[in-house]
Amino acid sequence: MSDLLNFYVDNASLLLEKSVATLSIAALGLAIALLLALPSGVWLGHRHAGSFLSINISNAFRALPSLALIAIGLGLIGLSLINIELALVALAVPPILTNSYTAVDGVDPDAVDAARGMGMRDRQVLTKVELPLSWPLIFAGIRTASVYIIATTPLAALAGGGGLGDIIVNQPTYHLVGVIAATIVVVVLAFAVDGLLGLVQRAVTPRGLALPKELQTIVPAADTATTAA
């Protein structure tokens, strides 16, 4: 235990530097995944179309082993940031896509009818009714995605470097205490990002929407609940 504390004290700046790198790598992956999956999922859900496509794309991406993607990247293009980012995007797309689709698609039809009845146009129905009601599930997907991403980013050390993975794969230099120390930092980062996104979620979700039990853990159930039936 004291070894662990000593490690933190002695290597504070190294850990800080590596944490920043980890977060940047993760942020880039999350951003790309959001760009690809969020608008498409929301739009398809809104149109109640393309469920077959989105569910199957999610399933296909989810089956891709991260290290296998990195390996193919290393074989084809060598050491590069693209390798890890590809793996991270593949990880993040399924929860975001599935959840945003399911959330918007599943909005209470009565609410949508009422909105239309009030004279709202299509775009407004989406932004004023469907999205607000969908945020909990959508955010659950984004939070799941970010946890997956942060926990997988250490693999970047194998593929061109960067981040806390540099310590985690380097037990010879940093010893097991270093591996454990860096791992704890990764776990803390994952919880922190999840917490942060939780705050954002609370900010955008209309009051009165209760958070179901399945969404209360660090890896919300939403990713899996929708795979049933």
């Binding site: 060598g78 050491l79 194998l158 470097g161 794969v169 380097n170 037990q171 010879p172 230099t173």
Partner: protein, 322 residues
Amino acid sequence: MSTRFMRLLILLLAVGVLAAAVGCGGDDSSSSSGGGGGGSSSSSSDQPGKGKPAVTIGTKDFTEEFILGELYKQALQAKGYSVNLKKNIGATEITDKAMTSGAIDGYPEYSGESTATVFGIDKIYDSPEATVADAKKHYEARGQVVSNPTPFEDVDAIAATKAFAEKNGLASMEDLKKLTPSFTLGARPEFKNRQVGLKGMKDVYGIDNAKFKQLALGLQYKALDKGDVDTANIFSTDAQLASGKYTVLKDPKGVFGFQNVLFVINKPKYDALGGTAFMDVINKVNTLLTAEAMRSMNSAVDIDKKDPAEVAKSFLDANKLT
């Protein structure tokens, strides 16, 4: 409907139990029973390994070690020993720990690595023999036994592409100080803090203008070729050096030490395996390992992409050790 469900549950559990049984049967990365396949009755002098407990040999994380592991394993099996080979355990620090913790019984280690990295001795030795003697002394004090050293040694070295070396007039390690303000040095992670590494380069040659770039072991030549690094840490018996594309810098002050291979094994296991009878098999292999032999085997694996087990087998067969 319920019976179908029951059937599924039972099927799943059966698969699980079956898989677990098969899996637990193969508890090591590669296990094999002793050789002596001829079926003829074996006199104990011919098959000293018969009846002895199984021995677990580990190897570190690069080609030469893989080959050494296979050489020892197959030579021992030919003498009736039961050998488990745990391949690719990791760098020196991890593999040594595996031995002292009992996860493996022994592994091939380099004499200079032993003194500098395992035992933390900051000394520069005058000769290979002195290095071996000191390593042996420390291992024995700690509870291990070592074999005779191999004729070949494989030292760390710094290399650059021929072009870069010519352009900058690099022939020896001291010349690196000329590369102002700095130069990049690509190496596996543990090189940075080792006495037989960057730290030693600073202490002994005063080279403090190196920018360390971490590379996974094995990517050094690629990085040199692409120009990702100016210099890289390589091993002197690497197959790639035969191509002539690289210049290896001389190490007149001997910071990288002498590095003959010793097979190190925990004493209790050594005794249980028959002591000198066991070590004789290892030593017979070691005497064959000249620099030329090692380099050609490394080349077969690294350049010609042959399997280390096959290469080891060919070598042992040719030298009548199997």
